[in-house]
Amino acid sequence: MAKVPVQFTLNGSEKAEFIESGTTLLHALRDKIGDTSPKGGCHQGTCGACSVIIDGELRLSCLMLAETCSGADIQTAAGLAEGGMLHPLQRAFLDAFATQCGFCTPGMIIAAKVLLDHTPNPSREDVVEALSGNICRCTGYEPIIQAVLAAARANSQNAA
């Protein structure tokens, strides 16, 4: 299988790789680059565990071919913490006990980050809608929703 060059920015760092044509972004990130924060859940676009942010938009890395992402700015959950400090969403998920097995958590946090980037003070309905493409099979959704709302409140207090 022919290999193709792919270049993009991942969490602020330039990445350049040769990958097999047809490789999904999920596999490229996990197996080639070593960012295992996007999880391979259903590989069908249903569970949201592989969610990433591409050029500011929420996308599913399992349904994207890596070679279509050349030149893109990609953010994953692995890039959220800075200087050893958790991102406010990560902290809120811990504080609200919004994670059990943790498999869905990176996708949930990434989906929530896109929401808060565009809607800093979301309603509960906004949060439910934003997370509607993400499935959790152990925690249930209420602690997750509360965590996102708490992170939004913390952000608005910090901004005030």
Binding site: G22, G45, G48, G133
Partner: protein
């Protein structure tokens, strides 16, 4: 998975490459990459088109042209397409809506393809490199079609004349039990002058409810007057059975939801 992707500057160039066996068109990826992930070995090569025109929304003089690569999210946030926003928002969660395209939705098998249901009610024209054809004709032959869809065109409906309903069990986003789109033109006295009703999940692809459309003509939208249309809604349907609902259930609840849509 082993796929080879080729990118072409124009639809015409890609059309030629698409004729090869095992080759599929890559739009947003929500159908074809999903199929490859699922182990569909009939997919070996992918082609895509980089022409920015494919991602363009044009609204002018009451006419709409949506490029095939326009996403559901782009439609949902477009200020002049507010009437279509409910149908665009019915497609998947936020990430899927950022990826799913107009062109892909035309090929989505039931229980997917909710936006194509809306396009069918609007009697859209499907534009390919070979010309354009009515969406009903396109949908009937889509399994054999090897032409790349470039765009869809239709008259922009007035918000009050276009209605869309998706019924699902999981809230806020679930797979369709059924979906209904209706374009209703009414006379000054409130009687229905023309009706176009499209159904999703009532066959393997979107279909028109022509018996119900005919039964609505001249009716006012009251429970008594729409009753014959609701009784006729099941004519010609062959609903799908899947883990979401049985064919029997879908057929039973169709008139209930059509009634709610017409009386809303």
């Amino acid at each position: 998975m082993s796929l080879a992707l080729q990118t072409f500057p124009t639809v015409k160039d890609a059309n030629t490459a698409l004729q090869a066996s095992g080759t599929r068109y890559l739009g947003g990826g929500t159908l074809v990459v999903r199929a490859a992930n699922e182990g569909d070995v009939s997919v070996s090569d992918l082609v895509r088109v980089a022409d920015p025109d494919l991602a363009r929304i044009a609204v002018s003089g009451g006419k709409v042209k949506l490029g095939a690569s326009v996403t559901m999210a782009a439609i949902a946030r477009h200020p002049e397409l507010a009437a279509l926003a409910p149908a665009a928002r019915a497609v998947g969660g936020p990430a899927i809506r950022n990826m799913a395209t107009v062109g892909g939705n035309l090929f989505a098998p039931a229980p997917y393809g909710d936006f194509a249901v809306a396009l069918l009610a609007l009697d859209a024209a499907v534009v390919t490199a070979d010309g354009e054809m009515p969406i009903e004709t396109f949908l009937a032959g889509r399994d054999r079609s090897r032409a790349i869809v470039a765009a869809v065109e239709f008259s922009l409906p007035r918000a009050e004349s276009f209605r869309f309903l998706k019924v699902s069990r999981v809230k806020p986003k679930g797979i369709s039990v059924l979906s209904i789109a209706a374009l209703l033109q009414r006379s000054a006295d409130g009687t229905v002058a023309s009706a176009s009703i499209a159904l999703g999940c009532m066959a393997d692809r979107p279909m028109r409810a022509k018996a119900a459309e005919n039964a609505l003509l001249g009716c006012k939208l009251t429970p008594e007057e729409i009753a014959p249309a609701l009784a006729a809604a099941g004519e010609g349907i062959t609903p799908i059975t899947d883990p979401i609902a049985s064919a029997w259930y879908r057929a039973e609840v169709l008139p209930v939801h059509l009634g709610r849509l017409l009386l809303s």
